[in-house]
């Protein structure tokens, strides 16, 4: 969600969090999401390759 730059107090909803702190956190958050998604997809692809090469192919050709 875009942050309202014109209002410096937009991030301060009475919870003591300043606009600068909010922006800093919002810059970091997507990195964690991408790291998590990357690990999940990487594990999925490795598992698929493992099943294909170590289970499917050794079971013999079929046609």
């Amino acid at each position: 969600m875009p942050i309202d730059d014109r209002n410096p107090s937009a991030g301060d909803g009475g919870d003591g969090i300043s606009q600068a702190e909010l922006e800093r956190v919002l810059r970091i958050v997507p990195k964690g999401a991408f790291a998590l998604a990357g690990l999940a997809v990487g594990a999925l692809i490795l598992a698929w390759l493992g099943v294909y090469f170590f289970v499917f192919l050794p079971r013999g050709p079929v046609g």
Partner: protein, 180 residues
């Protein structure tokens, strides 16, 4: 605005990674399929299910394993409620085996446990599966398509014999016994 551009850049990067993952999987499938001639059984051949066991290729005397002139083996079977005929099929280890199987009644399933040999058996059609058994031993071959009340008891046995134990008669026929 710069945040939005940053997010767009990250999304594009992620889309590239996702596309690369799909490309790797598709590439592995295509390359190995060409290299090892792997493909889903796609044989289409029709047959009259009413006269199966009486004459022709699936007459009772013609069922079972038979060695071809080139050394490969062809197995002819009938899947009927609720048994495969024959109940035990000997095949040689490490040689090409072709299963030809059909049904006179309803849809059955053909699967040899622990291998990729797997297809549906439809009345009116001859299903054909080619494979090579890499390891010797008995393999269960249950019907894997629900075909009625006796479905659970419908199974056969594929006996993969090492070359040293494989033998066929003067007509190229081979048979085996079901263990008690």
């Amino acid at each position: 605005m710069s945040d939005e551009r940053e997010i767009l850049k990250m999304e594009l990067r992620w889309a590239t990674i996702a596309g690369a993952a799909v490309a790797v999987i598709a590439g592995v499938i295509v390359l190995s399929s060409f290299a090892m001639a792997i493909h889903p059984p796609s044989h289409v051949e029709t047959i009259d299910p009413a006269t199966l066991g009486q004459s022709g290729e699936f007459a009772e005397a013609n069922l079972g394993a038979r060695v071809n002139p080139d050394g490969s083996v062809t197995v002819r079977m009938i899947a009927a409620q609720y048994a495969f005929v024959p109940r035990c099929i000997p095949v040689p280890q490490g040689r090409p085996v072709t299963f030809r199987i059909t049904s006179p009644d309803v849809i059955h399933g053909f699967i040899v446990a622990g291998t990729n040999a797997n297809t549906m058996v439809l009345p009116g059609y001859v299903s054909e599966v080619r494979t090579v058994f890499q390891e010797a031993g008995d393999r269960l071959m249950p019907c894997d398509e629900f075909c009625g009340l006796g479905h659970g008891a419908m199974w056969s046995l594929v006996r993969v014999l090492p070359q040293s134990e494989w033998k066929s008669d003067e007509n190229g026929r081979a048979s085996c016994e079901i263990p008690h």
